[in-house]
């Protein structure tokens, strides 16, 4: 039995497919309830941290980014049902490619524009030179 044959016997699942079909709606509803609870906790933490003085101020943006990425993960797993199972390989690969493009686009833009900004002459100086 080759690996290829093994793969083709596994049912694929579309993104958004429920975990358990024909098993009563209890487990399926529970997945959404857990997702909602986790997302609510993360959102509340984000809003709390943004307005508090308890945390060292320069760490706030980092904390917000980490919380946002965690919440996106919660949404992907509990609402969109993207898992690491063998039936989900295609969905995960597409997601990985999307994340790669997003990281390149965001990181590249910010990096280049920060550099340009840094190397550009201050605007008032530029105006004086043109006179």
């Amino acid at each position: 039995m080759s690996f290829q044959d093994n793969q083709s016997l596994t049912p694929d699942s579309a993104p958004g497919d429920e975990y358990a079909e024909g098993n009563g709606i209890g487990p399926a509803v529970l997945v959404y309830v857990i997702g909602l609870a986790l997302a609510t906790i993360l959102t509340a933490t984000s809003f709390y941290i943004a307005g508090t003085d308890l945390v060292w101020a320069p760490s706030i943006p980092v904390a917000l980014v980490v919380l946002a990425i965690a919440q996106m993960g919660v949404h992907l797993v509990f609402f969109l049902h993207i898992t690491t199972g063998p039936d989900n390989t295609n969905n995960v690969m597409a997601l990985a490619f999307g994340v790669l493009i997003v990281v390149l686009l965001l990181g590249g833009s910010l990096w280049i524009m920060a550099n340009l900004n840094h190397n550009m002459m201050p605007m008032d100086q530029l105006m004086r030179m043109q006179r």
């Binding site: 909602l36 609510t40 984000s46 946002a68 910010l110």
Partner: protein
């Protein structure tokens, strides 16, 4: 494990789920054949969503670059109302949850719960849109419209694009309710509902990035 013999009656390997016995629903992929149509449709829509997210990331990059270019005008910290943003976030999160309940109702073929869950999703979505429009109107009234500064142009583009997606999602939601009413839970209608649910959940993911980058970071800046 035993090998599944190749079945000669699957003549066209590219039928994409159009089996001789009708549309493939939740079937297992057979040897040498393609995935059921539901899987193919869901996967294709997933790729569209990822490209949509890539488009949003370009708007995010634009916003992040221009966030300091206020041209002497108001900054985000002076304009944003975190209370309103918090209520919008709660509305969208709740609507994402009820949308999930609607897809469970589809999987157990319960029309009543499908209509109820979709209607609640619609109400939360409309509440979100209403709050956002109110915020936009108040910004324009205060002279902080999209033409005031590069920062505000980027803000209205990014948040407005998400709002447009939500509006399109609400139209799609109403269409799905009407189609289930007129045609019932047919296989093709079910695939459309699957795509709608993916779309709605993806909008919530984009909003998570949006309220973090725009509102929370903007207010603490």
């Amino acid at each position: 494990m035993t090998a599944v013999p190749f079945s000669p009656d699957r003549a066209d390997p590219n039928l994409f789920g159009h089996r001789p016995g009708g549309h493939g629903h939740a079937g297992v992929r057979t040897e040498g054949g393609s995935a059921p149509k539901r899987i193919v449709v869901g996967y294709g829509f997933w790729i569209f969503l990822l490209s949509d997210i890539v488009m949003f990331s370009a708007f995010f990059a634009t916003y992040a670059v221009l966030v300091g270019e206020t041209a002497g005008g108001p900054t985000g910290a002076q304009l944003f109302d975190l209370r309103s943003a918090g209520i919008e976030t709660a509305c969208l999160l709740a609507s994402s949850f009820t949308c999930g309940l609607a897809s469970i109702a589809v999987s157990v073929r319960n029309k009543l719960w499908f209509y109820v869950a979709m209607a609640v999703t619609c109400v939360f979505g409309l509440a979100f849109l209403g709050l956002e429009l109110k915020e936009f109107a108040s910004l324009v009234m205060r002279g902080a419209g999209p033409s005031r500064s590069a920062f505000l142009s980027a803000f209205f583009t990014l948040v407005g694009c998400h709002g447009l997606h939500v509006s399109a999602g609400i139209l799609w939601l109403l269409t799905m309710m009407a189609q289930v009413f007129a045609k019932g839970f047919r296989a093709d209608i079910e695939r459309r509902i699957l795509c709608f649910a993916l779309f709605w959940h993806a909008l919530d993911i984009i909003w998570v990035a949006l309220f973090t980058v725009v509102y929370l970071m903007g207010a603490s800046r």
